[in-house]
């Protein structure tokens, strides 16, 4: 991804929330997981990742706790809160709506 635009920032929130919904992870793991699952198409820039994580934390959609990684290092792990789960559903729904709409217009015969 190039410079994050507004549209992309909203999408980044969705990606983070979805990724975390599978289990608590730290920032590095989130970025790697997104890269992995999107088959290297989406590369998250650190410059946008951490501010986004902190914003989501301020909104109390994700909660942070310090824990240990597999290698025994201390890292800040983020997990989804109940409110975050609701927000995730909302974002998914609006993404569906948006992408359907774009598809309709782009593919119109």
């Amino acid at each position: 991804m190039g410079k994050p635009s507004d549209l992309v920032q909203g999408t980044l929130d969705l990606l983070i929330l979805k990724t975390i919904s599978l289990g608590p992870m730290h920032g590095w793991a989130i970025a790697k997981r997104i890269e992995q699952i999107s088959a290297d198409v989406l590369r998250v820039q650190q410059g946008s990742l951490y501010p986004a994580l902190h914003r989501l934390e301020q909104q109390a959609w994700i909660a942070a706790a310090w824990g240990e990684t597999e290698t025994g290092r201390k890292a800040k792990l983020y997990s989804l809160t109940a409110a975050g789960r609701e927000q995730l559903e909302k974002e998914l729904a609006s993404w569906d709506r948006l992408s359907t709409a774009i598809n309709l217009v782009a593919r119109m015969a």
């Binding site: 650190q46 301020q58 201390k74 409110a83």
Partner: protein, 910 residues
């Protein structure tokens, strides 16, 4: 749940900042390490791996900054930063901080003190329930008035109260409140009676106001039933604490009010001091007991005895306008319903009588309010201007400090601090100073306010106004402090940050000749010029007030004010009836004449500066008769009145001992009456008729007396006529005795003895030298004068300190130039003149602006001046001269320092 979490996070960011920052740094480094590890695993060598990782990261500090922004506490963070920095800076220069804080404290404190007086007297509502729903009927300044002879619309009679109370639709309740007159309270047990402040009120008084009792009960409607039937009183909480030490046994106690026994049935809630602001009530007496409290005087059954003011509580949905219209309609209806027998035509209000006025009653009644409104507002303007002058000084001081801190500011700007952020931080310093000044100012006001009251009020032990700083006062002080801080801080802050970076940052930049340096000059000089202009304004004002006061004190009143003692007694209250009252004047006079030192004694109904006045509808021979006559002020006097008081007669003779009952009725008129109605002709022998009821009384004019001032120090003397009390059919409503003596002060005690010797039960209402009474009436005049003089001098002092600072700085900066001049042969005098020239230029510029400002401002206070015009040139010239003299002095000090500059030193270090 979610909002609780959000708040918790915010608080954590605020208070555990270091921990939060450390966590963020740790988190980001962790990520960096992982990325580096990945790079190494991909085959890069260690150093390259780390550098690549960093590049990918894209700026550690920026990411940290953005994360901080996300936390949402940036504003508070920065504020805390600014405040702690400001505290450190101010602590670093204690002298400056102390001087600045003290001058601010003085300026803000003076403003707060005056405002708290204004708040207590004019703005604050009564301590009752929902004061905004109260409506006052009548003239709210007539709190102690009593008028007989006609039906009035500015104060009311009891019969009129009954009408309005029983037939109105706008109020849930209408209360009446009137003066109690002199109250002497005997608590029994042989102790002497003490004076107390009372108020006579209707039974629904406490109910309408929503005031409850903390002991016993308040009045009920039962107290309004039978005249003389309920000798009960309610006392105020203050009085209960002060006089009865808060004793619960006060309920049921019997107090003798003017000799009549009353039982205390209740103590009012704390904080409630009645409906009159400036005269807190101690004892409330039911209306029905009026004639018991005022022996010999019955007010309740007469339509033409007006002494009550009303407060009504509006029904929901009713408006003030509707209440006013209804009151006037009921008033007119009562007049027509009862016209004839109960309201005879002669006491009907005239056709030009003003309608009943309804006004918001939340702030109660006050006679002081009208008196002191203008003086207080004038004082407010004066202290406001002094504060402006003080601010200008502070602004200059801050500008100087800014020059010293240029390097620091340049470094910070170069490091990337935003200019607005720096301005905000410098402004925080000023605001902190201002808040400090504000807090000290409140403390100063706590002392100054009551001190001012003592100066105006005299020595009564009950402080007439409650000056505790409540919310409006604190709010005022806070707003004033903040505005002040911005006023003197903003411009210097903006100027300080307008620094050219490169030249300032150079190694040996001392004082910079860039925009930060010389740019300062016009501003500082402008400020000093404005200060001088304001000082001239204040000095001129003070000068005008001082001369007015002098004129008032020296005012020729028409008689010898230094040799008169006034004695007022109340035989009616002592129970004297007809026969005794007839003989009283001459008997009493003889007794007083016998006092050694009394060279002449006489009496009059309305006295001199006694507060009462009469007027009669009069018809004069030679002028067309008007229905009800022309209203002219009058007085009924004793024999040889004019000679005793010292008023010369311009024509004819005065009222003498031979003018008694049975002889021709005589009158003496004053100059003003003669001029207005008998211009050109001799009034002697002509007739003056007091028009009806019951029928006309004809007097022969036997003399013309010089105009005298006996009620008012200001304004023209109105026409007046005097008749003989001895020839009159009714006794005087008040009895004033005027005694001429060489030494008034010494006669007070012997006179009191004489009265007690004549009749120990005869109450003495007043016994004072006339000069003391006149001093009291110009009391608040002299207060304004003294204060304006003090503040004028203070402003001039502040302005000259400012001038001194500016000129000193010039001299310091130009030390180089001065050194060169002196080395080239310039004399000391020419150097001194150079400095003084600058000084005079600034001062004269201030005068040029100040003179028109002073003239304009003087017009605002022209109505207070006596004996001189608002544009009095002598005062203006004197103020200007003082100003210039002080300016020259302020400039001469640095000037003489300049002459002592050692040329070699100056050249070396210049």
């Amino acid at each position: 749940m979610r909002s609780a979490d959000k708040v918790r996070l915010r608080l954590r960011s605020l208070f555990l900042r270091p921990r939060v920052e450390a966590e963020l740094a740790a988190e980001l480094s962790f990520h960096l390490e992982q990325q580096t590890a990945e790079n190494i695993a991909a085959g890069m060598e260690a150093k390259e791996a780390r550098r690549a990782a960093l590049r990918l990261f894209g700026g550690f500090t920026q990411i940290q900054e953005r994360c901080r922004e996300m936390r949402g506490t940036r504003f508070i963070d920065e504020l805390v930063q600014d405040l702690s920095y400001a505290v450190r800076t101010l602590r670093g220069s204690p002298a400056f901080t102390i001087v600045a804080a003290l001058s601010l404290a003085l300026g803000i404190g003076a403003n707060t003190a005056i405002f708290s007086l204004i708040n207590a007297l004019i703005l604050r509502p009564l301590a009752v329930q929902a004061p905004d729903r109260l409506v006052a009927l009548g003239d709210t300044s007539h709190t102690g008035s009593l008028s007989e002879g006609s039906v009035r619309t500015d104060i009311f009679s009891y019969p009129m109260y009954e009408q309005l109370r029983d037939h109105n639709q706008s109020f849930t309740g209408l209360l009446a409140s009137g003066r109690s007159g002199r109250l002497r309270v005997g608590t029994g047990g042989g102790a002497a009676a003490e004076p107390a402040r009372g108020r006579i009120v209707s039974g629904n008084y406490f109910a309408v106001l929503g005031v409850r009792a903390v002991r016993g009960r308040t009045f009920t409607a039962a107290e309004d039933r039978a005249p003389g039937g309920d000798p009960v009183v309610v006392i105020s909480h203050d009085y209960w604490q002060r006089r009865f030490a808060g004793d619960d046994g006060v309920i049921g106690r019997v107090l003798a009010l003017n000799g009549y026994p009353f039982t205390v049935v209740g103590v009012a809630q704390p904080g409630f001091a009645g409906d009159v602001v400036g005269a807190p009530t101690e004892i409330w007496i039911p209306l029905m007991m009026q004639s018991q409290v005022n022996p010999g005087r019955k007010y309740l059954d007469r339509w033409d005895t007006s002494w009550l003011l009303f407060l009504g509580r509006l029904k929901p949905g009713a408006s003030l306008a509707r209440a006013q219209a209804e009151a006037n309609a009921l008033f007119k209806r009562s007049l027509t319903t009862y016209a004839g027998a109960a309201i005879p035509p002669q006491i009907m209000p005239g056709p030009d009588v003003k309608p009943i006025e309804a006004s918001p009653g939340g702030a109660g009644f006050s006679s002081l309010r009208r008196q002191f409104s203008q003086p207080l507002l004038t004082l407010m303007a004066i202290v406001g201007l002094v504060l402006v002058v003080a601010c200008a000084n502070l602004a200059n001081l801050l500008l100087e400090r800014a020059v010293v801190r240029q390097k620091e500011i340049a470094v910070r700007l170069a490091l990337g601090a935003g200019r607005p952020r720096l301005i905000r931080q410098l402004l925080t310093e000023s605001l902190l100073l201002a808040v400090l000044g504000g807090v000290l100012g409140i403390l100063f006001a706590l002392w100054a306010g009551p001190a001012l009251l003592r100066l105006t009020g005299g020595s009564s032990s009950v402080m007439p106004l409650d000056l505790r700083p409540d919310l409006p006062v604190l709010g005022f002080t806070t707003v004033l402090a903040l505005l002040t801080g911005i006023a003197f801080g903003l411009a210097p802050a903006r100027r300080a940050t307008r620094v050219e970076l490169a030249p300032t940052l150079k190694e040996n930049a001392r004082t910079v000749a860039g925009s930060g340096g010389t740019g300062r000059w016009p501003v500082a000089k402008l400020l000093v010029v404005c200060q001088f202009a304001l000082s001239l304004l204040l000095l001129t004002g003070a000068g005008l007030f001082v001369r007015t006061l002098q004129n008032l004190e020296r005012l020729n009143l028409g008689y010898d004010r230094e040799r008169l003692v006034l004695l007022k007694v109340d035989p009616v209250a002592a129970g004297y009836t007809e026969g005794r009252l007839d003989a009283f004047p001459l008997q009493f006079l003889d007794r007083i004449k016998a006092v050694p030192g009394a060279s002449a004694v006489t009496y009059s109904e309305n006295g001199i500066f006694s507060g009462t006045e009469s007027a009669d509808g009069v018809s004069l021979e030679g002028t067309p008769r008007v229905e009800r006559g022309i209203a002219i002020a009058s007085d009924r006097v004793g024999p040889d009145y004019f000679q005793s008081v010292g008023v010369p007669l311009l024509a004819g003779r005065e009222i003498g001992p031979r003018d008694r009952k049975g002889t021709t009725l005589v009158a003496v008129i004053n100059e003003a009456l003669a001029k207005r109605y008998f211009a050109g002709r001799s009034p002697l022998g002509k007739h003056l008729t007091i028009v009806g009821p019951p029928e006309d009384t004809v007097f022969e004019i036997v003399g013309v007396a010089r105009d005298v001032r006996d009620h008012d120090l200001r304004g023209p003397v109105p026409p007046r006529f005097y008749t003989a009390l001895a020839q009159s059919t009714s006794f005087a409503s008040a009895f004033n005795v005027e005694i001429r003596t060489a030494n008034p002060g010494a006669l007070v005690k012997p006179l009191r003895e004489a009265v007690r010797g004549y009749d120990p039960n005869l109450p003495v209402e007043e016994l004072r030298p006339l000069s003391a009474m006149i001093s009291e009436s110009i009391n608040h005049e002299s207060l304004i004068t003294k204060l304006s003089a003090v503040f004028g001098v203070l402003a001039l002092l502040l302005a000259s300190i400012g001038l001194y600072g500016v000129v000193s700085y010039t001299v310091a900066r130009r030390a180089n130039e001065i050194g060169i001049r002196m080395a080239l042969g310039a004399s000391r005098e020419s150097v001194l003149w150079m400095v003084l020239r600058e000084t005079l230029f600034l001062a004269l510029a201030g005068v040029a602006i100040g003179v028109p400002a002073a003239l304009a401002a003087a017009r605002l206070v022209a109505s207070r001046l006596v004996g001189l015009s608002a544009h009095d040139p002598a005062t203006l010239a004197a103020a200007t001269a003082v100003l210039l003299a002080v300016a020259v002095f302020a400039g001469a000090i640095p000037g003489s320092r300049a002459t002592r500059v050692d040329p070699t030193q100056a050249l070396r270090y210049g």
